[in-house]
């Protein structure tokens, strides 16, 4: 993300230091990670020290300091999904993408993460891609869903 876009986002929030987390979330959403340049720009414009920004950026799991893929794949491995076969879903995603949980592929298409509950246990096993939730998945359906993403 170039620094002009970062500036635009910062100005939407009137350079308010209290909007730090909102600004970081917007950058994360658009760029899929928080680059060093972006963080330095935010630090400079908001007058918030880099120490504080790093503390916040490493504290929340929503932020990433390494590039993430365009699509974030979250596989629920909570108790209900686990019982309903989350392992099989996870295996088929790992097979299809070649990724382990926590990894991102080279062309920055998918990032794979496991999560511990997304709050719709009746739909288990559940996978979320970006913000869309897919429930009652079989291994085959999982692969079809992933193939529908560019």
């Amino acid at each position: 993300m170039d620094s002009e876009r970062v500036d635009q986002i910062i100005e939407e929030y009137q350079c308010e230091a209290s909007a730090l987390i909102q600004i970081l979330l917007r950058i994360q959403e658009e760029a899929h990670w928080l680059s060093r340049n972006a963080l330095e720009r935010v630090s400079e414009r908001l007058g918030v020290s880099m120490t504080r920004i790093m503390h916040i950026a490493t504290f929340y799991k929503a932020f990433s300091l390494v590039p993430k893929g365009r699509h974030e794949v979250h596989i629920c491995v909570g108790t209900a999904c686990h019982v309903r076969g989350a392992e099989r879903v996870l295996d088929s995603v790992e097979e299809a993408t070649g990724l382990k949980p926590g990894e991102t592929d080279l062309d920055l298409k998918f990032s794979l993460e496991t999560v511990n509950c997304v709050g719709c246990c009746a739909l288990g096993p559940v996978m979320q891609v970006d913000k869309k939730t897919y429930g009652k998945l079989s291994a085959g359906e999982t692969i079809n869903v992933l193939q529908s993403y560019e």
Partner: protein, 204 residues
């Protein structure tokens, strides 16, 4: 500011409203062990070592004295079987992180803590936050801060700021109860500003 009358270890103590139990006790000459407390800094309540027993309105409870305000008719016990047991446990847990810290070993001897009770996880830092808070509140430099959270929380210097601020200051070094801070600084300094090491005498 109104005056408050309370009991500490059976003695009547006068304190001012708004003071913490720790401050009142220290003023009265009663010592309570602390690791994360420093007069110049905002109370943190992080190490929990200053835990005392307070009896209020007929009920007794355990509170962290460095952040608990004094009130009338409190009866504070700074050493009891329960308090000592908690302090011993805290020290044993902290010693798993910093087994060679003189400060911790000394307190450990006083409270009978076994430094080998838990498996060593030598991070050397006990996350007391003294360096982080001193740098932010007193020096306003923000050269050192916390990264990550929970069990992975750690202190780290931001190299760009450290290169500018730390070489002349280093006031946080004597605050550190475990010397982990010096190690973190040496690591950053050797990576981030190697040229500075040649200019300074070898004092470390």
């Amino acid at each position: 500011m109104s005056e408050v009358l309370l009991q500490i270890d059976g003695n009547e103590v006068r304190a001012t409203e708004g003071m913490t139990i720790l401050e009142a006790a220290r003023e009265a000459g009663v010592s309570i062990p602390t690791l994360c407390h420093h007069e110049k800094l905002e109370a943190h309540g992080g190490c929990r070592l200053c835990m005392v027993e307070v009896e209020e309105r007929g009920r007794s409870k355990l509170v962290v004295s460095c952040i608990y305000p004094v009130a009338n008719d409190q009866a504070v016990t700074t050493r009891s079987e329960q308090v000592d047991r908690i302090r011993k446990m805290i020290l044993e847990l902290l010693l798993a992180h910093a087994p060679d810290s003189e400060t911790l070993l000394e307190l450990g001897r006083e409270y009978g803590a076994d430094k080998d009770r838990f498996d060593k996880q030598a991070s050397f830092c006990i996350n007391c936050g003294l360096c982080v808070r001193y740098c932010a509140e007193v020096k306003k430099a923000d050269a050192v801060g916390f990264l990550d959270r929970g069990t992975r929380r750690d202190i780290a210097f931001i190299p760009e700021i450290a290169a500018r601020e730390c070489w002349q200051c280093k006031e946080c070094f004597p605050l550190c109860p475990t010397s982990a801070l010096q190690a973190a600084y040496m690591l950053v300094s050797s990576l981030a500003f190697p040229e500075a090491r040649h200019q300074a005498p070898s004092e470390c």
